[in-house]
């Protein structure tokens, strides 16, 4: 009997292994949180899938640092990057290198690799409206020298970067006083004539849409930002060859068009990537793009959302309730510990999430860790306070009757603190559901993915697709907790709490 079972189990394992190997290695593709990043990642993902690989998509990974750390630590295998970013931000070099030197240095110093250039150069560009160009007779950046009165608003990133404003101003001898602006708002501000000039990426879809003029970088100040695939050395050589096929396939104009399609033609990243791969004959013309459908997606992400929230909440329960009880017993420690937990609560969610990456990489684990820290305080504080505020007469009677410290806790104090503990758990759960939407920034999935992508696309519908289920989930959680409380806590004690 036993050996029969063992044979069956062995058979299942072998079948699973064969099944797995027929699909090849699973490749984890990352992406920074912006449209072009999504499109390029989706092109890479679909190209790999078309060649039999399984792909795990870890998009929405925030900025360069998050993506690079994830690749460096082996949490993802590949993501699209730019040569300029590699030089300036990752290797922190002062002078640009030739492509070959750059590749060598990445291999040698980081033990990572880059592919050949995809073709286009997405560098910074200064853009103005047609009217502004005519008004000041602007064609090149050096034309700005005679117009210090031009009203500039530059992205915060550009103002801060090494290859940003300060250096550019000294190279070109500009005396303008630029103000900071969120890049996503700059085009609207230009269109509304609130500002006259902003920095842009040369492949931005908006340049086409708003009919803007790009000023020529006549002193070759801006470094080259050629898009490449940035990947781990361990990636299968067959996969590397497939990626190498993308060499010189995307022109600046094509990238601008793709960017504009997701922004203004309501196409998804996957659709745009799919059309590109078909046009270039990487995949068959009649291949159908698989999509789960909107409701399937929402359900999948809602389940992910619940999963992250629930794991974090359960962990917090297991730690915070006993800790709260200990704080009550050793009350001298309660103030410093509650203070510390309160301090954790004040860290902005995004910062806390980012802070988790060096410890836990990306994905679900750091998200759960951060949510766990957020859930600690409400449960801890309510447990300790609930116990501290039990009627002192009842504590005295329990002691006087002969109950030991633990018996007193078990029979009297914890049951009476239960409504307060419950309220703490409920608060923690609701906070977690809200904060978990931000976990999408570090690749944890969940409903936040809709919101993050929606923000990138400025697509309210997509934002609501994440925000509405998240809000419903929070309401449902309150409701479920109220129900459990109704069953668990005697009625007269509930009423007492409400008063």
């Amino acid at each position: 009997m036993m050996s029969k079972l063992r044979n069956i189990a062995l058979g299942i394992v072998i079948i699973l292994l064969l099944y797995q190997s027929s699909f090849g290695q699973t490749i984890r593709v990352g992406s920074k949180h912006f449209n072009e990043g999504y499109i390029l990642s989706e092109i890479i993902s679909q190209l790999l899938e078309a060649n039999g690989y399984k792909v795990e998509r870890n998009y929405n990974l925030g900025g360069t640092k998050v993506c690079f750390d994830a690749l460096y630590n082996g949490d993802i295998d590949i993501y699209p990057e730019y040569t300029g970013t590699l030089t300036e931000e990752i290797l922190k070099l002062d002078k640009p290198l030739s492509f070959e030197e750059l590749n060598k240095k990445i291999k040698f110093e980081l033990r990572l690799e880059i592919s050949d250039k995809f073709g286009f150069n997405n560098t910074y560009a200064f853009v103005v409206s047609k009217e502004t160009a005519q008004k000041y007779n602007l064609k090149k950046i050096s034309d700005l020298k005679n117009h210090p009165e031009i009203n500039m608003a530059l992205s915060y990133e550009f103002l801060k970067r090494k290859d940003g404003w300060d250096n550019l101003a000294s190279v070109y001898g500009l005396k303008n006083k630029p103000v900071g602006i969120e890049h996503g708002l700059a085009y609207q501000a230009l269109d509304d004539k609130k500002i006259e000039l902003t920095d842009a990426y040369s492949t931005d879809g908006e340049i086409k849409k708003y009919n803007l003029v790009t000023l020529e970088d006549d002193m070759s100040f801006f470094p080259k930002y050629y898009a490449v695939a940035f990947y781990r050395t361990e990636l299968e050589s067959k996969a590397k060859e497939i990626i190498a096929g993308l060499k010189s396939t995307i022109t600046e104009d094509e990238m601008q068009t793709m960017n504009s399609e997701v922004l203004y033609d309501n196409k998804t990243f996957a659709e745009v990537a799919n059309e590109f791969l078909k046009k270039k004959n990487f995949i068959s013309q009649n291949g159908q793009l698989e999509t789960g459908g909107m409701y399937g997606e929402i359900l999948k992400k809602t389940l992910q959302h619940i999963k992250i929230t629930l794991i974090a909440l359960l962990l917090a329960l297991v730690i915070a309730i006993p800790l709260g009880i200990l704080l009550y017993i050793y009350s001298a420690a309660s103030k410093p510990v509650l203070y510390l937990a309160g301090l954790l609560q004040t860290i902005p969610s995004i910062a806390l999430l980012a802070f988790m990456i060096p410890f836990f990489g990306i994905g679900i684990v750091p998200a759960v860790a951060a949510l766990f820290l957020y859930a600690l305080l409400p449960i801890l504080r309510n447990t300790a306070t609930g116990l501290f505020t039990v009627d002192p007469l009842l504590k005295k009677v329990a002691t006087g009757m002969g109950l030991s410290v633990w018996q007193k806790l078990k029979y009297v104090e914890i049951p009476l603190a239960m409504p307060a503990i419950f309220a703490g758990v409920k608060t923690a759960a609701v906070i977690n559901i809200g904060t978990a939407t931000l976990a999408a920034f570090i690749g944890a999935g969940g409903l936040g993915e809709f919101i993050v992508t929606g923000l990138a696309l400025n697509n309210t519908g997509l934002i609501l697709r994440g925000a509405i289920p998240a809000a419903l989930l929070a309401i449902l959680t309150e409701f479920v907790f109220d129900l459990i409380e109704k069953i668990y806590v005697p009625k007269h004690l509930q009423q007492k709490l409400e008063k």
Binding site: L394, Y411, V412, M418, P490, L493
Partner: protein, 245 residues
């Protein structure tokens, strides 16, 4: 350390709160299986005295004897289980039913279930509580009924010593007198040493055998009830008696 034969005895017991003395070198022995009322004005030291007996307050100086032995604070929980304790406002646990309140010490000490049930039925009949009340919660009972449950709870393990700290203080006179009758009936059935703190002279007069009069942290008079009432030892006692008549 010899064995001292006293159910409850104080030897030069002093207790100070910060700088004020609540009890000042008090010495006495309580008579076994009798009811002793500790009486006096608020702040006189009676509440401190009764809480010293079950170790809720540890005196600054002096020796406390309970059950013929010097009070051992490292085993205080075991000793407390042998001392019934009831307070004003009853101290019933609001999240437990009447049955669970009374049964708690039985559960903790490992009494078997039918033994607990038998004992609860007996005690409840003594204090005229209908058996149906077992399922009720404290807030569903009147003040007098709650106090009766408090007595049953304190009596579950049949302690030989029962401390009542102003237990009937908040009850109306007729309820109070009913409970007094029930308590005396129970005392006849299973006699024990009862020490009750009260500010009500009539209560002491009605059920106590002995009266201890405390004022300014000192015993002004401690004797048989009749003696204290008829021949007050000093003006403190005399004034208190006349003030309540």
């Amino acid at each position: 350390m010899g064995v001292e034969l006293s159910i409850v005895g104080f030897r030069n017991v002093t207790h100070r709160y910060k700088d004020a003395a609540a009890l000042n070198a008090v010495t006495f022995d309580i008579a076994q299986n009798e009811i002793t009322a500790i009486i006096g004005r608020s702040g006189g030291g009676k509440s401190t005295l009764i809480q010293i007996i079950n170790g809720l307050i540890r005196p600054t100086e002096g020796e406390v004897i309970v059950y013929d032995e010097k009070l051992n604070y490292s085993k205080i929980n075991e000793i407390r289980l042998k001392i019934g304790y009831s307070v004003q406002g009853t101290g019933l646990f609001p999240h437990m039913s009447v049955y669970d309140n009374i049964a708690l010490l039985g559960k903790i000490t490992g009494m078997i279930k039918h033994e607990i049930e038998f004992r609860i039925d007996l005690l409840m009949s003594f204090v005229s509580l209908p058996p149906l009340y077992k399922k009720k919660y404290p807030h569903e009972l009147s003040g007098g009924e709650q106090q009766r449950v408090g007595i049953c709870r304190a009596m579950l393990l049949n302690p030989q010593l029962f401390l009542l700290d102003e237990a009937f203080g908040a009850l109306d006179p007729s309820t109070k007198s009913e409970i007094h009758k029930e308590l005396l009936k129970l005392q006849e059935f299973e006699p024990r040493t009862i020490i009750m703190v009260t500010h009500d002279l009539h209560e002491a007069e009605k059920i106590a055998d002995n009266i201890m009069f405390i004022e300014n942290g000192e015993i002004q008079q401690f004797d048989k009830k009749e003696k204290v009432l008829n021949t007050p030892a000093n003006n403190f006692v005399k004034d208190f008696i006349t003030s309540q008549q």
